[in-house]
Amino acid sequence: MDTAFLIESVIKVHIVLGFVLLVVPFIVWAERKILGHMQDRIGPERVGPFGLLQTIADGLKLFMKEDLVPAQADKVVFILAPAITVVTALIATTVIPWGDSVTLFGRTIPLHIADVNVALLFVLATTSMGVYGVVLGGWASNSKYPLLGGLRSSAQMISYELAQGISLVSVVLLAGTLSLAQIARQQAHMWYVVPQFFGFWIYVISGIAETNRAPFDLPEAETELVAGFHTEYSSMKWAFYFLGEYANMMVVSGVAITVFLGGWQGPVLPGVVWFLIKLTAFLFFFIWLRATFPRLRYDQLMAFGWKVLLPAAILNLVVTAVVVALR
C-alpha cells in the first residue's frame, strides 16, 4: 500500500461523500419544486432565486432546533439509529463506479473508491444493514406508532430485498462477474436493460420499496401512523433520517444505472457526465412516481411483494439461466 494510493483514495472518498452530502439539499429542493408543479402549485420560491436556498434555510432551522430525546426512550439506541441509516447508505456509495479510469500524473485512477470483486453483494449487504436504522429508531422511541412503523419497515424491506437480489442475480448470470465496474464495462454494445427488461423493473420496484419511497412509504404512513418510525425524532437526528433516505435513493439509482443502464458509458460526452445525466433522470423518476401514485395498503404491499414480485423475479432468473446455459 503506497502513499500515492492512499492519497488517491482519500481524495476520492472526499469527492464522493462531498457530492452525496452537498447534492441532497438540491434534490430536496427539486423534489418540492417538481411535486409542486405536477400538482399545479408553484413550490418553494421565497428563499433565494427560484426558492433554491429553501432547503439550506430548512437545514439551518433543523440545526438550531432543540434536540428532543423522549424520557422513556432507550437513549443509546435512539441516537445510534439515525447514524446507522446514514452510514450504511454512504458506505454503499464507495463501490459504485461513476466513470471509467482516468490517467493523471502517470497513474491510472479508476473512478470508484474501492474495487471490490464482490461489489454487487457488498451493496446488497450494506443496504440490508440499513434496515436497522429504521427498526431500531422505531423501537428505541418506546412509543406505539414508531414501533409499528419500525416493524412494518423491517417486514417490508426484508420481503423486497429478496426480489431485488434475485433480479440482480439474473444480470450476474449474463455478466459472469460480481464486480460493478466490470458489469458496467460489458455493456459497451448493449445495455443489460434490453435482455433483462423484466429484471430491470423488478429491481426498480423493489428498490423503491427498499428506500421507503412513495408509493411504498408505509413505515411513515401519516394517515395511520402519525409519522411512523421517526415520529419522536426532531432536529438533526430527524435530518439524518432524511439524509439517509436521499443517499439511499442515490445508491439504488447508481446500482440501477451501473447494472442495467450501461453505467458511465454513452456517446460523445465524458463518462462522469453521462453518469450524472442518468442519475438525474433516475432521481426525477423517483419524484415523478411520488407525485403519481397513492400509497399502497399494507396487505397489498406484502401480497404484491411475495405473490407477484418474487415469483416474477424467480421466473426471470430461471429463464435467464436456461438461455445462458443454451448459449
Binding site: 453483494l121 449487504a125 427498526v135 431500531l136 423501537w139
Partner: protein, 170 residues
C-alpha cells in the same frame, strides 16, 4: 504486515467485546445488537482471510436478514423481565459443560497435524482463493451431497412454516 495485524487485533477485540455484551446485557434487544456487532467483526476477519465473498454473505444473510427477524420477534414479545428456561444451577452446569466441549474441540483442531506448519507459518494463498467461482466449484463438486441435503432440509422447513401459518386455530 503491520496493517493486517492491527486490523486483526481490532476486529478480534470488537468480536470478543461484543460477545461478552451478548451474554451480560440485560435487555434482549441490546443482546441482539451486540450479536450483530459480533457478526460484522467476524466478517471483517473473513476479509482479512481473503474470503470477501463469505464476508459479504455473512453480512447479507446473518446480520442483514436473520438478525432483523430476531429483533422483529424480540420487539413484538417486548420481553422485560427474565423468564428463564432453566434454573440457575442447571444453566450454570450446562454452560460449563458446553464451554469445556468447545474448548477441547478448538484445542483438538489447533493441535491436529492437519494444520500445516502449525500456527506460526502464514500459508501461501492460491490465486482466486475465496472468490465466488472457487467456492461454487468446491460446493458443487466436493460438497455436492451435503449441499443438496441442506437445501432439501431448508425446503422442508419452508413448507413446514407455511403449513403452521395456514393452520386454522379452532
Amino acid at each position: 504486515m503491520l496493517i493486517p495485524a492491527f486490523l486483526f487485533a481490532m476486529f478480534a477485540g470488537i468480536a470478543i467485546g461484543c460477545s461478552l455484551g451478548v451474554i451480560f446485557h440485560r435487555n434482549p434487544v441490546h443482546c441482539a445488537l451486540m450479536l450483530v456487532g459480533v457478526l460484522l467483526s467476524v466478517s471483517g476477519l473473513f476479509i482479512l482471510l481473503n474470503a470477501s465473498f463469505l464476508a459479504a454473505l455473512q453480512v447479507l444473510v446473518y446480520a442483514g436478514a436473520i438478525m432483523v427477524l430476531f429483533l422483529f420477534v424480540l420487539m413484538l414479545l417486548n420481553l422485560k423481565g427474565e423468564n428463564p428456561l432453566l434454573t440457575r444451577g442447571a444453566a450454570k452446569g450446562f454452560g460449563i459443560l458446553f464451554a469445556i466441549v468447545v474448548f477441547v474441540e478448538l484445542l483438538w483442531t489447533v493441535l491436529s497435524p492437519q494444520m500445516e506448519g502449525g500456527m506460526a507459518a502464514s500459508p501461501t494463498v492460491p490465486t482466486g482463493f475465496g472468490s465466488p467461482a472457487a467456492i461454487g466449484r468446491v460446493l458443487y463438486t466436493v460438497w455436492l451431497y451435503p449441499f443438496e441435503i441442506t437445501s432439501i432440509l431448508l425446503l422442508i422447513a419452508v413448507i413446514g412454516a407455511v403449513v403452521l401459518a395456514k393452520r386454522k386455530f379452532v
